[in-house]
């Protein structure tokens, strides 16, 4: 009786969040899935077309471009944000002085509006009016580098749209790792130091393994953040020229709100969800496999053989 009452009490407090989750997340996903199976233009009848939109996606070179662009952002994000977050957090945690200063400075870009940042960088990289090319010229680069139109050059524009976004959110991963590093027992570092371990060795042998659980969280945040990225390319280049700086979310927006292809755009939206889920599942499986007892024993045996 008491157990039932406790459960009812818990359910009562969980209910509002669950209702909001169902109303704002689950129902829109189901509706988007429904729209993705139609050729709806936002007005008039919804004609059911089955998987036609999904088949069209894989034949659409613009969609393939946006998927590749999203993966470029993801790879840069994983490499840069993970490494900066981990290394930066480790180094800052070792500081005796200036810890709070570095913590604030590295986190500062994250709190600035993404729209303002994107506008700033679009002016910064502007070949006609921005300072970036002038800086390159002052550094001695010739016209072939310092005279390039980075935002209009379809071969490189994606990097110039991705890098500011990666830079802005590096601070977020840094803060997460900093909190995690501070929870690593200091005695581990002290005893390693007494044994003569260098900072690099302490980082790779103590910090990195200890941060594995939090790295799972950070990786999932980076995956989901990169795959739904929209604001930077939209403000800097509206995803152009063509689709060369568009991510999947930009394509979704253009198809739905610019072209009026609600059905096709919904299929793009669902593909973002499916790809995110697949990547997260793959990562979790790989992570679990790496962390499993069997694999840990294998690695320990290899280390002993090396010694």
């Amino acid at each position: 009786m008491k157990k039932r009452r406790d459960m009812a009490f818990s359910a009562f407090f969980l209910a509002p969040a669950l209702i909001v989750f169902v109303l704002l997340i689950i129902i829109p996903i189901v509706m988007t899935l429904e729209y993705s199976l139609t050729s709806w233009r936002g007005v008039g009848e919804m004609n059911f077309v089955g998987l036609e939109n999904y088949i069209k996606l894989f034949q659409d070179r613009n969609y393939i471009t946006t998927v590749l662009n999203s993966f470029i952002l993801l790879i840069i994000g994983l490499v840069v944000q993970l490494s900066f977050g981990m290394v930066g957090a480790f180094l800052v945690s070792r500081l005796n002085r200036g810890y709070k200063f570095y913590r604030s400075v590295y986190y500062l870009p994250s709190i600035i509006s993404a729209a303002a940042m994107a506008l700033l960088f679009s002016i910064f990289f502007n070949a006609d009016m921005g300072p970036f090319n002038e800086i390159l010229s002052a550094l001695g680069f010739g016209d072939s580098i310092a005279g390039r139109s980075w935002l209009s050059d379809s071969s490189v524009v994606i990097y110039f749209v991705a890098v500011p976004q990666i830079w802005q959110y590096m601070g977020q991963q840094f803060i997460i790792y900093l909190a995690a590093v501070q929870n690593i027992p200091e005695e581990l570092f002290e005893s390693a130091s007494l044994d003569g371990a260098s900072s690099a060795k302490m980082f790779f042998k103590i910090t990195v393994p200890s941060l594995r659980p939090i790295t799972s969280v950070v990786v999932i945040l980076i995956i989901t953040g990169c795959l739904k990225a929209f604001d930077y390319p939209w403000i800097m280049t509206t995803g152009g020229p063509g689709y060369s700086s568009s991510y999947m979310a930009v394509m979704m927006y253009r198809e739905v709100f610019k072209n009026g292809h609600f059905g096709y755009g919904s299929a793009v939206a669902m593909s973002i969800l499916f790809i995110s889920l697949i990547l997260v599942v793959i990562y979790n499986q790989a992570n679990d496999s790496l962390g499993s007892e069997k694999n840990q024993e294998k690695r320990a045996r290899r280390r002993r053989m090396k010694i």
Binding site: F13, P16, G42, V43, N126, D128, L151, P241, G242
Partner: protein, 444 residues
């Protein structure tokens, strides 16, 4: 101890309920509701992009219309839904999908409203004129009404024309010992000379097609009449096979390669950056439009002269005989709202005011090409606007291609194709194929 825990649970429960209920209480003032309507007064939802922006026009329009709404607050309530520039299109598309169109709204013409017309969402304005005390069909030129006319019925009130004009900075040309180009060869020569000195010859970039697609039309119409353009844009499989369309693309490529346009065509695209570049004398020429007239500084207007678009090789039609433009913006009424007897009178009163002489005079004063037939107080009109009207007087109007596209999707594909053409990221053949595919798709 147990009873204390039980009391604590009930107190927490009570607090939670109290907080939840206090969050739900009251009607929550709608931030767009200027009047705080009450009782059974009809509510008119009005969406516009005339109230959002940094121009004097935006604040003057807001002040004027809000004052009127306040004066009629005992009869009906006006809810303003404001978006800036092209964002209004996105907003209306969202409202459309949610079956929640405003009662009346500013909107673009022709292909932009096709879907709404096909689904009987917009009012036939002849029904409106039948009940309006202040407006009639005679207030609008038939050519302007044509952009909202489908199968003999007209579904919108035209407000703005988009007559394009070209300016050059006389001072820059005099300093460099150059004369404004009159043909393609001279344009390429002048471009090379100016860009060698770090001056952008022509401030026409392309960001989501703006303002590039207007310049593209200025070249295109040297080879095609309006009727031919209507056929090419309005029928399947007409765009791709046209030699002069390929020629138009190739000419743009030549201009691009000669440095005629800003180097960063995307970064320096769109209307405001182009005007800014021209105002700061970083560009020697500009291809401009009525809605940017207020953005030119007095200093640059003093130094500027009008010129015709340079004549292209083998052009059939002289650029001094036509002007690219056409009515591209206006006002539409939700048919369902009009037929709602409880709000028809209020809607008619408000729309009569919005389209009346006083508001239209303000539109004209902002430099926008007001198409309504009425007496305008010319002493209050922007001097550059007056000069432009004089310069372009008597020229045949050719509707710019974006407006001529059959529906929203092909309009967008055409716009983004211009980005690619200007940036050189796609070939002319690829661009033309994309445009043809989208026209065919919209017409199927």
């Amino acid at each position: 101890m147990k009873s204390n825990k039980r009391w604590l649970k009930w107190i927490c429960l009570g607090l939670a309920c109290g907080m939840a209920l206090s969050g739900c209480s009251g009607n929550g003032d709608d931030s767009t509701d200027s009047q705080g309507g009450s009782g059974n007064l009809p509510v008119i939802r009005f969406a516009t992009n005339y109230m959002a922006g940094t121009e004097q026009f935006h604040s003057d329009f807001s002040e004027m219309v809000e004052a009127y709404a306040a004066s009629v607050k005992d009869k009906y309530t006006v809810e303003f839904e404001s978006e800036s520039g092209d964002n209004l299109r996105d907003k209306i598309k969202t409202d459309l999908a949610a079956d929640n169109l405003p009662d009346c709204f500013h909107y673009w013409t022709a292909g932009s409203v096709k879907d709404m017309v096909d689904n009987n969402l917009l009012l036939d304005i002849d029904e409106y004129f039948a009940v309006s005390k202040n407006l009639s069909r005679d207030n609008y030129p038939e050519s302007s009404l044509g952009v909202y006319t489908f199968d003999g019925k007209t579904y919108g009130f035209p407000i703005e024309g988009s007559s394009n004009y070209m300016l050059y900075n006389k001072e820059i040309f005099d300093e460099k010992g150059l004369t404004p180009p009159t043909n393609m060869d001279e344009l390429l020569e002048v471009s090379k000379a100016l860009s060698a000195d770090g001056i952008v010859p022509l401030a026409v970039g392309s960001s989501a097609g703006n303002p590039a697609h207007f310049w593209y039309a200025a070249v295109f119409y040297q080879y095609y009449t309006q009727e031919e353009s209507n056929t090419i844009c309005g029928e399947q499989d007409k765009w791709l096979g046209e030699d002069n369309i390929v020629k138009t693309g190739n000419l743009i490529e030549q201009m691009r390669d000669a440095g005629t346009f800003p180097a960063d065509t995307l970064g320096s695209g769109d209307f405001a950056p182009a005007v800014s570049m021209y105002n700061e004398e970083k560009a020697a020429m500009i291809y401009a439009f009525p809605w940017v007239i207020q953005q030119f500084t007095d200093e640059i207007v003093e130094k500027s002269e009008f010129m015709d678009v340079p004549v292209m090789p083998d052009a059939k039609y002289s650029t001094s005989d036509f002007v690219v433009g056409g009515t591209n913006f206006g006002f539409v009424v939700n048919a369902k709202s009009f037929h709602d007897e409880s709000k028809q009178a209020a809607l008619v009163d408000f729309v009569d005011y919005l389209l009346g002489d006083e508001v239209n005079q303000l539109v004209a004063e902002s430099g926008r090409w007001a198409v309504k037939i009425q007496e305008y107080d010319e002493s209050k009109l922007n001097p550059l606007y007056v000069r432009a009207q004089e310069y372009l007087d008597g020229r045949e109007e050719r509707v710019h291609l974006w407006s001529n596209m059959p529906a929203a999707a092909s309009q967008e594909v055409f716009s983004y194709a211009m980005d690619e053409l200007w940036a050189g990221s796609a070939t002319v053949d690829q661009i033309n194929q994309d445009i043809q595919d989208s026209i065919n798709s919209d017409l199927s």
